[in-house]
Amino acid sequence: MEMVVRRGMGRGISAARRSFSTSIEAEKPTGEGKPINLFSAINQALHIALETDPRAYVFGEDVGFGGVFRCTTGLADRFGRSRVFNTPLCEQGIAGFAIGLAAMGNRAIAEIQFADYIFPAFDQIVNEAAKFRYRSGNEFNCGGLTIRTPYGAVGHGGHYHSQSPEAFFCHVPGLKVVIPRSPQQAKGLLLSSIRDPNPVVFFEPKWLYRLAVEEVPEHDYMLPLSEAEVIREGCDITLVGWGAQISVLEQACDDAEKVGISCELIDLRTLIPWDKDTVEASVKKTGRLLVSHEAPVTGGFGAEISSSIAERCFLRLEAPVARVCGLDTPFPLVYEPFYMPTKNKILDAIKETVSY
């Protein structure tokens, strides 16, 4: 399948140059469903969402022909151009349009082509979507709104096709922020997000669109929001992450194990409102916490986790909370590997924290 990209992104997403095993490949097959990649899982979820609600719509830039990442393939043919349609390239207008549509009792599933392009829509999302229910005293709400957008590094994306802007949206009461780590998770969490009665910003790890392959049940299922998942149990240190970073953390866990460090790995899944209890329980057990995300470290969501856990687990912590995140630079072009919170950086921080 040809990848179609625009706005100066010259290469396809599929050919990541470094090895990038995902947590999913390590997971046991569930025995149901076919192995599919992440964009196909998203595609399945969108099919189900439109199938099960005649007033659900998918729209955004290029979604009519399947989208630049193929997530919306086949939807327009199946559900018609009245429900699956291209918008002009105007993110602020798209977001506002989606809010109006949702306010009239519809399920508006808007796609912002890259998370980097979400900033023109930031005003609408922050000032209108997040506050619609509150400032109208519940006369109206735009709970039917879900904004899907691909985020994160992809190996060669450069400044404007690689950013992770999730923390901005976590600072806005009234929004939910959800990020899946794998195809199975993506399908279940996306369906939950679409059906959740609150506006949700759903970030999709674009690096995993093709790389992550997992058996995904074909039926309609939902995974709970605001519930973190302990995906590997351990006793020496708790690692918290989300999205594509989970697979990097998982590799770090494997390497740590070889030097005798037992890591507990938690996928936060929903960033807002986040599952403090699960993280707290884990840190109370291990006494140590490391948070890792691709976004720059300063003001990233890791800071919020670090602070909250320090408040809740101060007397149980045996080391400062470690943050292994992106650098405080714009997302770089050539030196992306130096910017990224790589496995080795995480492994070093694990060792340091454990031997603090």
């Binding site: 007033r55 602020q92 207008g93 977001a95 349009f97 306010a103 609408q124 005293g137």
Partner: protein
Amino acid sequence: MSAFSALKTIPSHPIAGGHRRRSSPFLSSLTNTAPTGHQLHSSAAISVSLSHSVIAPGRPVRAVSANVVSEEKQLDGSAFPVISREEALDLYEDMVLGRTFEDMCAQMYYRGKMFGFVHLYNGQEAVSTGFIRLLTDGDSVVSTYRDHVHALSKGVPARAVMAELFGKATGCCRGQGGSMHMFSREHNLIGGFAFIGEGIPVATGAAFSSKYRREVLKEACDDVTVAFFGDGTCNNGQFFECLNMAALWKLPIVFVVENNLWAIGMSHIRATSDPEIWKKGPPFGMPGVHVDGMDVLKVREVAKEAVGRARRGEGPTLVECETYRFRGHSLADPDELRNPAEKSRYTSRDPITALKKYVIEHGLVAESELKAIDKKIDDLVEEAVEFADSSPPPPRSQLLENVFADPKGFGIGPDGKYRCEDPGFTQGTAQV
């Protein structure tokens, strides 16, 4: 023929005696002088293609000025009133309600009864009344930060609007919004939008919903959405984004510009490269109409056609209503920037006085009846204040409600109680 009257599409009413002229280099290039018509769509002669702005061959691209600043009066020469007695009474009552309500707001604001910033609508009543009184209950209105009167015209009771301004539990948003946040699901008022232009895409989405219900779900839905915004907003990107989308998808929406000539402290003429906003319709493939926003009858005529077009599924219209606010931008604005001569020029064209004169001269209504309406509205607004003043404040739980659909986990703690019920809530020791 005035500078603006290259195209006259609606009868000019005697109350419209304007005094303002603007240079109009663009219009001088038009050679067409269309005959007077009563409906924009009905006359090929007024569907003038602006040759240099046609972007879609075959699509009618029209720009129409309703001769708003004509010095001439009684151009149609008609002695017959263009409205019925019932309509006259309704329009008059609605405009007086808007004016009286806003004057009362000023009093209450200065007495410290209101929260937040308050922007009054005085002077612009012909626009709200001219458009909204034509709408059905199912039609939607999207407003701005100057939204009290739009709410009233749409039928939201004055007491509910006043109580909202007082931040009381009986307000139309339960006191959770305030002045710039009037919503009513019952009346399909989809809100005041305090940020410039933010209501326009929301209105566009609502209009799409109506079209979908009608054309795809085959529901009996011919609802129209009317988006109000000001001249300042017409320099904002969302305006252009949505003109494009609405025309592209032929949505049942009317974009109503309330051009009161001032964007807070910035003169429209100084802020906009081409101040004739209505001319921005045709480049997007929709009619642009210019109308005297101080003349409710003219506004109503234009509104009839624009709303009718939307209802018939013929797509959006851009209407520029040239109006003026009689007060400062907000009640915090001392209004020192505007030239007193300009102000008095417009106050002398007070839309309520003009309508009054028209209906009396045409023998539609006796002066005593209008006085009775004035009295009725005075009482109504007084009652609204009493109602608002005596209403209870919202429960403290309001602070934590409606952030998310379900307050559990956010507003409601693990014990199942609102966190604000914790005695420590106001002492800053409870976790919220």
